[in-house]
Symmetry: C2
Subunit: 223 residues, 2 copies
Amino acid sequence: MATASKLSQNRKPGRPSKSEDLRDVILDQAELAFAEFGFEGASLRDIAGRANVNQALTRYYFGSKADLFDACFLRRGGFLAGHRHVNLDRLLEKTPNPEVEDILLAYLKPQWDMKYSGPNGAAFVALQARLHAEPEEHALRLRREVYDASVKRYISALCDALPHIPRDVISTRMAFLVGTYLFMLNDLGRLDDLTDGHLNGFGKEDMLHQLVTFLSAGMRAAP
Amino acid sequence: MATASKLSQNRKPGRPSKSEDLRDVILDQAELAFAEFGFEGASLRDIAGRANVNQALTRYYFGSKADLFDACFLRRGGFLAGHRHVNLDRLLEKTPNPEVEDILLAYLKPQWDMKYSGPNGAAFVALQARLHAEPEEHALRLRREVYDASVKRYISALCDALPHIPRDVISTRMAFLVGTYLFMLNDLGRLDDLTDGHLNGFGKEDMLHQLVTFLSAGMRAAP
DNA sequence: CTTGTTATTATACATATGATTAATTTAACG
DNA sequence: CGTTAAATTAATCATATGTATAATAACAAG
């Protein structure tokens, strides 16, 4: 562990550790606000207020509101993509020819865990769902930048596991999958409405298992 | 077909046919704007401008901005739910014990057709996707009001077709399904990104078929 | 035509917002 | 301590927005 003096050497002068904290505090609160109200609905004043910080600080650190949103998304999105990447590495290392279920689980689990890691994790799920519903070109670029590489690796893994199914079909089904789990995670709390409350019997892990079962069967279906 | 004189008798005095048209023109333009920019992002001025109408007219006809949004959603949402209802009626009448594929197709086709019925149909799909990503209580009530009854009927039909699968599981999978097709329809134009352009070979009908295949397999999966 | 009701517009109001600038504080360093 | 650069704040700007009101236009009825 680095000593305090070493840390202060690495740090640029005039930039104390406290400021790094504020940067993250702003990001955390922005995450919550964007998730709850959407990009247009959230206001910089509100975000700054939640963070107990002057509004101009958001501009100082992140530039425009759009830049703040991007920073928000890239932070946790990058973490998520990285986690997925590692999961697939480990799986392929351990099992040369993994089952479809295992591949899907490697993909879904990080998002799942994030959702239940706390309010900000859940907020990020909502953020993703919103971003997917956004038709703007910029939103599309963001998503591609963060996720595309990882998704393509998983498509390849699925192709290996399902050699009799054309790659085009697998790609399409992978897109189905993204919609399914995103929507589902975001809507989970209200799923009871459809089940007349019978859903309470399912725990979080049960639900993940159900999702994997459902999606694996879809992946395996003869085209 | 009613004569012009008869029509003018049915109409309330002081409410000429032209005004009914404007009401719909506003709804059409609001639909496009809400779909493109979201509820907060769309502005009444912009909507009124597109409709070549004074902004105060939106208030005159619909009240608040939120009311306009609701009217927007209920109009086409009601049409959609009705279409689904009829489709299931006809299916059950024709085939007492229909296949899962037929049930799902009856559910999905109306939305599919709407998407390709023109710009406003496509906009409504985007609107739905946005509304689903919205955590507000009001958005939830809207969706439930429009869709819940219809969805529950389809769940029952699926339970009959899959007697060995518990109702809870079917309900959950039906929720999966909604997420899948909504995001997919909304994302369809950009699906090429994942397939390196190979998707062009699939026509609209092919894609619907692929979706039904995928979802049917998921529905049938042993839980 | 006159009247009363509805449809439509022109205009104004109050406010919330993102951006911006200048001033102030904080901390590292010589 | 004093200097310097970065971090943080206070205050202002210009504007876009939803709401609201009053005036006008269109139209049916008598």
